[in-house]
Symmetry: C3
Subunit: 349 residues, 3 copies
């Protein structure tokens, strides 16, 4: 750029607010509407750690803040995001961040590459409302390698006056969950067992070779098969409106809530458009985060999954959700329990 | 649920109407608008049968009413669906139904599991307008196994006042077809021939192993390669508006009408949103049913397929459609028949 | 069709305009609004040529006018397209064109099959506004074979009064690029090297066998890995609105502009519907062309790719874009350069 640079607004006078990031599927404390522009200060640390994706399947996860996916960040349209990114000395690789919500410098990736032992501070303005992926993108083959090793998360830019439903009416959610879906491509040894490597770099060539075949060995929520089932199931109550933020940094996904629906679904995660309604299964393009909201009408187990049922059940892309409240017989009722019948009185066939 | 249950509306006073289900691609007789809430009574039987997907490729199909896909069910918003599900004594497996259109109890799957020789009756209220998948979901690995063995269908919930076009004007179709797309994962023997098993359970482990690779051996409409071609081609007339309901319970699909268009396309199959227009190819997220409508302008062969052309032509996802009427030269005309030309007078290259 | 044919409008009285087609990613000179219906005359030649998709990977490309993809054609709604299709004597195969924008005769494929040495002239009316794929479709297995050998392109039908943004306001672009994405399925020899064949037909059976596995060996823009990078990068200036037309005739794609956004995105490529906004990553259903527009706000390198990062980086689906102008510090600024930090003062973990 040979032209003179555009001067920045004096953001030093804006309120500065530290956001405490939390591990997914939880989301940080936040207001749904904005009181005016602010600087949201966040710190993320790149952490490399050996994790178990499924029994007997270990991988060197490359992470933001130690979780797969990284934490959800929440700001409002017009806010400034001030990120301090730290790469600890114990790391083996350089990392950075490409925020899909940001504008310029490869989403910030070009200005945030930190070697082990370094930190950097980047500020950018949230000018697009919606939910967006962020991910590490250190260049060349390191890009898919870091992303398929777990190094992505999501950032939500809420409209100043909050969400609107399909009729344009303000929509307030009672609870939000962030589901980060991750595809892994774990190499196997000659006996068909998953290989464990001594460092991220040691497994890279093998993993990229598996990845070139485009078929993951695991597709999981929150970093591991069963990470959001049983004791870790999501919770809600009948009558609550729940916002689900779903990201997939590398492959398409097909979110579906068994026993429920997407009452509202923001295509591509954009809050600039009216949401669609009545979705049985919605869609996450590869490399995107989307949002869907549902008001629960019935208690009991619900299952939130990606509706390629092979991926959901055999590769891991399923979460449980337990809902408390009263059953509504008008909406569904079992008129006759399973019981033996006289086959001769049945249908002809 | 520890709270008191919500009482049901007294649905016994509503009109009760039996719907006679028919084999796809046909749809049951139905009105396009509602005369008020009613109880639609349907009976489905789970049938296990060895079918031929392509010459030399047999599979134990798990079906509703003997067809792959199961029959289309048609109701209106506000109606109650009263399903009697029968599993004949001759069956080898337990089956149930998860209606994506229903709310609670895993879409009814939690209240409908029937062992061989049992029947069950479930009633649920259609509160979401659109087209929706239903499928068997008996739990764990049985879920993908039953679904990739053919055990899904679709249910259409029409708005009370019928469909609307993209301008909000009432839209009446002259004809409807239900295209159920099925992915099969048939194991091969050492010589590369498809294996036939003695029962569904016998082939299950092998089939799930193929399925984990996520690449189907067959992708078909109406249960077999060529099931909707030649003598079984769909039919329409120039000037008719045809509604296509397309379901895929497990994978994405890309419906396309060669020589025609999606004049109207309801994203995700929701009738709660204005349809999109002018689609060359539309989209079915994995685990969804969608609807598209087209008014035919030209006679002759049309081909309805999923526009991954490998899947359409090599794996089977194509149907023929023969259209009767007068050719319109204004829309298309061959000005010069194929004839040899003097290459020297042609383009430079 | 036994009924009398509908007479054509007397199109001989309309203005006839020859459109000079250019190689992608460039687009032909055109007006964004229409001065009234016209006949747009284009000539395309089917060319078969051995091309290098990546170092050491050659394929007999089947092309329109010698490029993969074929050229973009631009007309307005209500115009007539008059195509002269020439198949030179030196060709080894018959070719035709199925225009997804056209109506009837399999999109024109049924009226345009030309043997080597033949030409044909077809006229059809553009009645649907949007961007649409065209491709060769000679019947049976020749359809996927020609398409996965490169034989597709795109045609844009602009609304008479030009594009509109999401608020219905006229939208004028400063520049347009056409990105044609191509999946190749190149067979390998026993040593794992890509095989080169003596003619298109010689490689057909092997290529279709690879294709049946549905996993491409290459996914590229403009016919080859790196065809739109380095010296061939796309260009734009800060403040310019750029329209991106993206086609994929056979597989889904996930266009994404690193460092930018889809300000406007026309789903399925239809200009009959309001565009969506704020897309981080948008979607091309298999067998479709879509359009997205972006106003550049920052200078420097941007990367336009399909955001399956494995496909983008390892299989080839990436383009570079260099943008000239002044950096805007308000939108993004590096507050602190990467520098070593005292780990003891960092986050607890
Ligand atoms: Cu990294
Ligand atoms: Cu990205
Ligand atoms: Cu079953
Ligand atoms: Cu389901
Ligand atoms: Cu051809
Ligand atoms: Cu086509
Ligand atoms: Mg657990
Ligand atoms: Mg998004
Ligand atoms: Mg609801
Ligand atoms: Mg037949
Ligand atoms: Mg649907
Ligand atoms: Mg029409
Ligand atoms: Mg180059
Ligand atoms: Mg299109
Ligand atoms: Mg912009």
């Amino acid at each position: 750029a040979t032209q003179a640079a555009v001067a920045a607004t004096d953001v030093s006078k804006l309120p500065h607010v530290k956001q405490t990031l939390v591990a997914p599927p939880n989301v940080p404390a936040h207001e749904q509407t904005s009181k005016g522009p602010k600087v949201v200060q966040i710190t993320m640390e790149t952490q490399e750690k050996l994790i178990e994706v499924a029994p007997g399947a270990k991988v060197w996860a490359l992470t933001f803040n130690g979780s797969v996916p990284g934490p959800l960040i929440v700001v409002h349209e017009g806010d400034y995001v001030e990120l301090t990114l730290k790469n600890p000395k114990s790391s083996t690789l350089a990392h950075n961040v490409d925020f899909h919500a940001a504008t310029g410098a490869l989403g910030g990736a070009g200005l945030t590459l930190v070697q082990p032992g370094e930190e950097v501070v980047l500020r950018w303005k949230a000018i697009k409302a919606g939910v967006f992926v962020y991910h590490c993108a250190p260049g060349g083959t390191m890009i898919p390698f870091h992303v398929i090793s777990g190094m992505s998360g999501a950032l939500m830019v809420l409209p100043k006056d909050g969400l609107k439903d399909n009729k344009g009416k303000p929509y307030k959610y009672d609870r939000a969950y962030y589901i980060g879906e991750q595809d892994f491509y774990l190499p196997k040894d000659d006996k068909g067992n998953f290989k464990t490597y001594g460092s991220p770099a040691e497994g890279m060539a093998d993993m990229l070779e598996v990845a070139k075949g485009l078929i993951p060995t695991h597709v999981v929520f929150n970093g591991a098969v069963g990470a959001l089932t049983g004791d870790n199931a999501l919770k809600a109550k009948v009558g609550e409106k729940v916002l689900f933020i779903h990201s997939q940094a590398n492959r398409p996904s097909y979110p579906h809530l068994i026993g429920g629906h997407g009452d509202l679904y923001w295509v591509g995660g954009s809050f600039g458009d009216a949401p669609l309604t009545n979705q049985e299964t919605w869609f996450v393009p590869a490399g995107a985060a989307v949002a869907a909201a549902y008001e629960f009408h019935q208690p009991g187990l619900h299952v939130y999954l990606s509706h390629n049922l092979i991926e959901a059940v055999l590769l891991g892309a399923a979460a449980h959700m337990t809902v408390d409240g009263a059953w509504n017989d008008d909406i569904m009722t079992q008129l006759k329990k399973p019981a033996s019948f006289d086959a001769k009185a049945g249908m002809d066939h």
